[in-house]
């Protein structure tokens, strides 16, 4: 299809214009764009809080902000980044856009519920931002009682309502994905021909559905206790603070798998495409996603080893936490094995993917440190834990998100992006990230506690290193924002399949028409059939194929 013809072709972006066509759309591709813009907005708000934290920590004394403000800053950094960026980012942006395309459907099962999910996300965001404006919340993103329910006099109730509402946005997205993947696959698209991106989102949706309600109820109980004086977590009445921790971490540990599983899905798409080779051990990678989702629900107690939890519970959770590391190891080995004898081309998405594998390996292995009871007694609630989860969230999840955005940008916008600048940004982010968070491992083992506004002078040197790294990381993140917006206008037009990739989404024009496919394709190739790249992946039956 020549470039000039492509301009007049009708697709989901020029199908209709005006604010109403965007704010009342039920097209999963447009809702993905609504999410992309709002998620980026919250990412840079969270990033702004992080910059203030890093500037404050340049000096041992608290000279940039008072203690009260610092506590609110790290709380809002945590709440914004986790609930408003990391959890929705890949599923709501890339998942919403791609899952119908990848399984050959016209849209998700419940388009209106999908739009409702975005509105709930925005309403939750507004609640949380008004809470921040009205004085902020200083309980930490963990809201531990009795501080959050009795002693804190900050905007806890308002923030809790915000997170409660946004939680339902995740639930509805998860519900949509599960039903769509079960009932709306194109003929020939069997479960074991599904792209691993879809498998990982199916596993993530299980966590959305079965985890999110528990944090909804635990935060509701905290709000009830604050507003109406119900004595659920009140130690005066014999309330046990550990009950809240159990309820909170029952969701919040699987939540970290919500953040990493979609990223793994993206990587399972990038590695085969850029090494032009079928993924190594497809079944094992697919089932390890499910294993991570299920085992992820059994391990939350490792957040409570030193919290006064009984020693036997600690032993059970430590054992199970070791098991949950195995599926992640399997994935890393399979990705690396996929590169063997491949035809590797280091485009920007591939740089992000390889960076992901390296950093995720380090993040995962440091997970073993905190899962081992003996060492966790020392490193719990120190900067070691901060470094561990930032290696997973920033080093892996955000890297995968950026890799995915770059990989599917031509499909979403019909435009390429500036390749050299993109590779440069990936390197800057990789270096800035390591300089920011590796020193924190050392600080952690030295014993610097987390959430400290003031720290002993001997920790200053490493903190200065970390803050320096944070400034490089900030530059690294601003670059893609600039050149991707720039690319919308000025980059050359990308054809239907820029990377010669496999997958149904590449069998339809870029940007895709509103109904994704003129005729529902019938899949005839297994997933990632790069070894027979020249053979067509789908065939089109003459009349409408009955649903198999």
């Amino acid at each position: 299809m020549s470039d000039s013809v492509q301009e007049r072709r009708l697709h989901y972006l020029n199908a209709s214009y005006g604010l109403r066509s965007w704010l009342l759309t039920t097209d999963h591709k447009r809702i993905a764009w609504l999410y992309l813009i709002s998620v980026t907005f919250f990412f840079f708000i969270g990033g702004f809080f992080a910059t203030l934290l890093r500037i404050e920590l340049l000096t041992p004394q608290g000279d940039l902000v008072q203690a009260e403000t610092y506590n609110k800053l790290f709380t809002m950094h945590g709440v914004t980044m986790i609930f408003f960026f990391l959890i929705p980012s890949i599923p709501a942006v890339l998942g919403n856009f791609l899952i119908p395309l990848m399984i050959g459907a016209r849209d998700l099962a419940f388009p209106r519920i999908n739009l409702a999910s975005w509105y709930l996300y925005i309403i939750g965001g507004l609640f949380t931002l008004t809470a921040a404006a009205a004085g902020g919340v200083d309980t930490g993103w963990t809201f531990y009682t009795p501080y959050s329910s009795i002693y804190s006099n900050s905007q806890v109730a308002l923030t809790v309502v915000g997170i409660f509402v946004t939680g339902f946005s995740s639930i509805l997205t998860g519900l949509n994905f599960i039903v769509t993947i079960h009932t709306m696959r194109a003929p020939g698209m069997t479960w074991f021909r599904l792209p691993l991106f879809v498998w990982s989102h199916y596993a993530t949706s299980i966590i959305f559905i079965l985890g999110t309600p528990v944090i909804a109820i635990s935060l509701t109980l905290v709000a009830l206790e604050r507003l109406f004086g119900l004595g659920i977590f009140n130690p005066e009445l014999g309330g046990d603070p550990l009950l809240f921790q159990h309820l909170f971490w029952f969701y919040s540990h699987p939540a970290v798998y919500i953040m990493i599983l979609p990223g793994m899905g993206v990587i399972s798409e990038l590695i085969p495409c850029f090494s032009r080779k079928r993924i190594f051990g497809y079944n094992f990678v697919a089932f390890s996603s499910l294993a991570i989702a299920v085992l992820g629900f059994l391990v939350w107690g490792h957040h409570m080893f030193v919290s006064g939890q009984s020693i036997y519970a600690g032993m059970i959770f430590s054992f199970l936490s070791m098991l949950v590391a195995i599926p992640s190891a399997i994935k890393v080995f399979n990705w690396t094995a996929t590169l063997y004898k491949g035809s590797v081309s280091l485009d920007a998405p591939m740089l992000y993917a390889l960076g992901f594998i390296g950093l995720f390996t380090m993040g995962g292995l440091t997970g073993l440190f905190v899962a081992a009871l003996g060492v966790d007694v020392h490193v719990h609630d120190t900067y070691f834990v901060i470094a561990h989860f930032h290696y997973i969230m920033v080093g892996s999840a955000v890297m995968a998100y950026l890799g995915g955005i770059h990989f599917w940008w031509p499909k979403m916008t019909g435009r390429r992006y500036p390749e050299v600048l993109a590779r440069l940004a990936a390197l800057i982010i990789f270096l800035g990230f390591n300089l920011t968070f590796f020193p924190q491992f050392i600080l952690g083992y030295l014993g610097m506690p987390r959430r400290y506004h003031v720290y002993p002078p001997e920790f200053q040197a490493l903190n200065v290193l970390s803050s320096a790294g944070a400034s490089i990381l900030a530059v690294g993140y601003v670059l893609p924002l600039i050149y991707l917006i720039w690319s919308l206008r000025y980059s050359p037009v990308a054809g239907m399949n820029l990377w010669k990739a496999r997958g149904l989404e590449w069998q339809t024009p870029s940007p895709p028409p509103t109904d994704n496919f003129e005729v529902t394709p019938i899949v005839v190739q297994p997933a990632y059939a790069y070894d027979v790249l020249d053979e067509p992946e789908v065939i089109y039956a003459p009349e409408k194929a009955a649903h198999v």
């Binding site: 094992f284 919290s307 035809s343 081992a372 070894d531």
Partner: protein, 318 residues
């Protein structure tokens, strides 16, 4: 390691520290091995198999069951070793040895109040003898805090409404950081202190000299009299309340058919909320003391009850 202003490794100042560091070295070795294995293979594969021409068609490799089993079994074996090693260390750091020196610590929003058995009390400081196990009985008056001494590699949350215990044996005299490691409000980062480890003779003179009040157990005994506990709790089981002689560690049969090991938490609950666990064969007539006894008072009574050993016989003999 690099002098005072750029330390890269914490001091080892307790008997537990070298053991925790040994597990750390093992974990560092495993992590270094696998990180290098993965990153080097990525770099090697990316260079060796770089795309030379767009028409390259790599071979079809679906996977290999043998490899999958291999890199499931090996990580599983390693993680099990880590688990057992970590669990054993945790067991050691969980149960204090019987002859430990007992010190009560009450945490309050943003300060540590320490109470030595001999009567001396301190704020945000803890003097202890080197070479002797020290058991801390921790409780909080408001929110959750956390008693964390990096140099000893130990930490334990301090909960309101309950006791948690923490023990260590300092091996090297000196001054070490004490941090509060559980977020507890505005001055969380100000709730720090110092652990001063002294040679045993120096500690003896320090603790002996100028005790502010009588010893904790003496204060406990005085409370035991003034609150009228002695009227029901006699040395023998003949009184209206069960005998408290040698109670710690004993299994107590309760009225609802269950039985419980008597520990400090059981004693505290039975003082503040007696009806929660009624001993079999006794009437629930004990009044509630919640609100009429402070945290320190309950700790003092408990330390006194611990001195009621069978050979000590009737109270007041000590």
């Amino acid at each position: 390691m690099f002098g005072p202003n750029l330390p890269l490794f914490p001091e080892q100042a307790s008997t537990l520290a070298p053991r925790v560091d040994a597990l750390l070295y093992f974990l560092l070795a495993v992590s270094a091995f696998f990180s290098l294995l993965i990153s080097i293979s990525i770099v090697v594969f990316a260079i060796k198999y770089r795309r030379r021409s767009d028409s390259e068609r790599p071979p079809l490799i679906l996977g290999s069951l043998g490899l999958e089993i291999f890199w499931t079994a090996v990580p599983l074996a390693i993680t099990m070793v880590i688990f057992v090693w970590g669990a054993k260390l945790f067991f050691v750091s969980f149960y204090p040895p019987p002859n430990a020196l007992e010190i009560n610590v009450v945490a309050k929003q943003w300060m540590w109040k320490v109470q030595h058995p001999e009567g001396k009390s301190e704020i945000d400081e803890l003097h202890i003898p080197a070479g002797q196990p020290v058991k801390l009985l921790l409780t909080s008056q408001d929110v959750i805090h956390d008693f964390f001494v990096p140099a000893f590699r130990v930490k334990k949350d301090v909960l309101p409404g309950r006791y948690t215990t923490l023990w260590f044996e300092a091996s090297k005299p000196g001054t070490y950081h004490l941090f509060c490691a559980q977020y507890c409000g505005t001055q969380h980062s100000g709730m720090v202190g110092r652990i001063i480890v002294m040679e045993p003779p120096a500690y003896a003179t320090w603790v002996g000299g100028g005790g502010t009040g009588g010893s904790t157990t003496a204060a406990g005994q005085k409370l035991f009299q003034t609150l009228g506990c002695a009227t029901c709790h006699l040395p023998t089981d003949s009184g209206r309340g069960p005998s408290l002689v040698g109670l710690i560690g004993k299994t107590v049969a309760l009225q609802n058919g269950r039985s419980i090991t008597a520990d400090e938490n059981y004693l505290r609950e039975s003082i503040l909320e007696p009806r929660a666990k009624i001993v079999r064969g006794y009437q629930p007539i004990m009044p509630i003391f919640k609100g009429s006894v402070s945290e320190e008072g309950v700790l003092q009574i408990i330390s006194y009850i611990k001195t009621l050993t069978p050979q000590a016989g009737a109270q007041g003999r000590k």
